[in-house]
């Protein structure tokens, strides 16, 4: 059995190009490709975006700290702990995600059956104008 690490370079080269070894290489090469889901990519996008935001904050911090370290620290602390960054409020327990998917599913089903008729949202608008109470979570702000 040629499992010797000290195998001579020439012999090794020859062995690596033997039909048996090349056959194995073809088999490995022929394995199906791996694919990642769109969810994975969406997750990466979100992480990259927060990394970008973090970097911008750091860059800003870097510019400011030289002239006024104390002030910058206070500012950074304020940014980090007191002022909630716009657009980064955490979603509550998956309700938002569920609501988004449910909205798509329900509006698509409505669209499928209604065809050229009115949409679910339009019916809601009309109903709301007739002052019938609606589920506050499903409140429709309308087309303005």
């Amino acid at each position: 059995m040629r499992n010797d690490f000290e195998m001579k370079r020439e012999i090794l080269e020859e062995e690596l190009n033997s039909p048996e070894q090349l056959h194995v290489r073809e088999l490995v090469r022929a394995l199906p490709d791996e694919t990642l889901s769109l969810t994975w990519r969406s997750g990466l996008n979100a992480r990259l975006q927060s990394e970008m935001v973090r970097r911008r904050k750091l860059n800003l911090f870097g510019w400011v700290w030289k002239p006024a370290v104390g002030l910058a620290l206070a500012g950074a602390l304020a940014v980090a702990f007191i002022i909630p960054p716009k657009g980064s409020a955490p979603a509550r327990g998956g309700e938002l995600e569920k609501a988004l998917v449910t909205h798509y599913v329900e509006s698509t089903a409505s669209w499928e059956v209604a065809g050229d008729g009115v949409s679910m949202g339009e019916v809601k608008d009309a109903v709301n104008q007739h002052t019938i109470s609606v589920d506050p979570e499903q409140e429709d702000v309308g087309a303005l």
């Binding site: 609501a99 089903a109 303005l144």
Partner: protein, 333 residues
């Protein structure tokens, strides 16, 4: 007798014209003389469904249709008065309906919806074809089972029931189709748990309606005309959202733009349709969890998210992954 004879001649002439119009396909013919639809009618489907798909853009009827849609924990129901002549449709609403006064007229090039309170006509892409294209796409999918059994009478007419289920045997939808004309008299859509998601049913239908030449025209004096794109622009300006919308050149047309409150968040919703697919773009000023979205999305529905300028964008659609991702990229994702 002379005026009566004249009137009868006119009526006969009108009748003959109408009959001719009915017999003559409005769409282009292909080389073999078969009518071209915007959808493909699969060969291996039951005869009633084949008839319905083939007749969809030729059929004439009038009727009263009750539509029911599940919305959260509630169900919404409304009634429409429908007049259809092939690819043209007119929809009005009964006096007791909150939608009374609105009129929808659709032809193969556009859909016009009149709002009397605002004296406004919204002009958007036609939707009738999209719904039937989607049905044709679903039954053409591999692994989808389509069965036909005799159905009971609906709106006083005999029907065949076509049941569509996925490869695991879960019922997706049922259609009640009139035997001779191919009119879809009733349709029910189910979610993955088997709950009725949406349905319509004709409670009354007439396959020989009287059609007036102006039935499919919709003009009003002094009316303001507006498109879904105009509405989107208006919302973006008023609510301070980013102007992110599908570019011209995609097959997907904006059908609806609106503000919606979802899980206490204000969300800008854009709904697009094309080639039988439905895509929604949500824009909101908060973060979303992509992995959670991916887990919640039902089979066949893809989700793609990204963030830009402090806003989150969520693209949801029944497209292949790569296509949805490409769309997302084009929108800046």
């Amino acid at each position: 007798m002379k005026p009566l004879g004249f009137a009868l001649s006119i009526l006969l002439l009108l009748g003959a014209t109408a009959a001719d119009a009915q017999a003559r396909p409005r769409r282009l013919l292909d080389g073999k003389g078969k009518q071209k639809h915007n959808w493909v009618v699969p060969a291996q489907i039951p005869p009633a469904l084949k008839l319905a798909l083939n007749a969809f853009d030729r059929i004439r009827y009038s009727g009263t249709r009750v539509i029911q849609v599940k919305s959260g924990t509630n169900r919404q129901q409304h009634t429409e008065l429908v007049l259809t002549n092939g690819p043209e449709t007119r929809i009005e609403f009964p006096p007791e309906s909150p939608l009374h006064g609105q009129i929808i007229v659709e032809n193969p090039t556009e859909r016009r919806q009149y709002f009397p309170a605002r004296n406004e006509i919204q002009v958007g892409p036609p939707q009738r074809d999209q719904a039937i294209q989607r049905l044709a796409t679903i039954v053409a999918r591999r692994g989808v089972n389509v069965d036909e059994t005799p159905g009971g009478p609906v709106a006083g007419m005999q029907t065949e029931v076509v049941s569509i289920s996925d490869k695991k045997g879960n019922l997706l939808q049922k259609l009640w189709i009139e035997n001779k004309s191919g009119m879809i008299l009733k349709r029910e859509l189910y979610d993955r748990l088997g709950t009725l998601q949406a349905s319509f049913e004709f409670t009354q239908a007439n396959l020989n309606p009287i059609i007036h030449p102006t039935d499919f025209k919709l003009e009003r004096k002094g009316v303001r005309t507006i498109t879904p794109d105009d509405i989107l622009t208006r919302i973006i300006r008023k609510e301070g959202f980013q102007d992110v919308r599908f570019p011209a050149g995609t097959p997907y047309k904006l059908e609806l733009a609106r503000m919606q409150k979802l899980a206490s968040q204000r969300v800008l919703v854009q709904q697009y349709a094309g080639n039988g697919h439905r895509i929604s773009l949500y824009q909101l000023n908060t973060t979303v969890d992509p992995s959670r979205l991916g887990k919640i999305a039902p089979a066949g529905v893809q989700v793609y998210t990204w963030s830009a300028g402090g806003a989150s964008f969520v693209l949801v659609g029944d497209l292949p992954e790569a296509e949805l991702k490409d769309l997302g990229h084009r929108l800046g994702g």
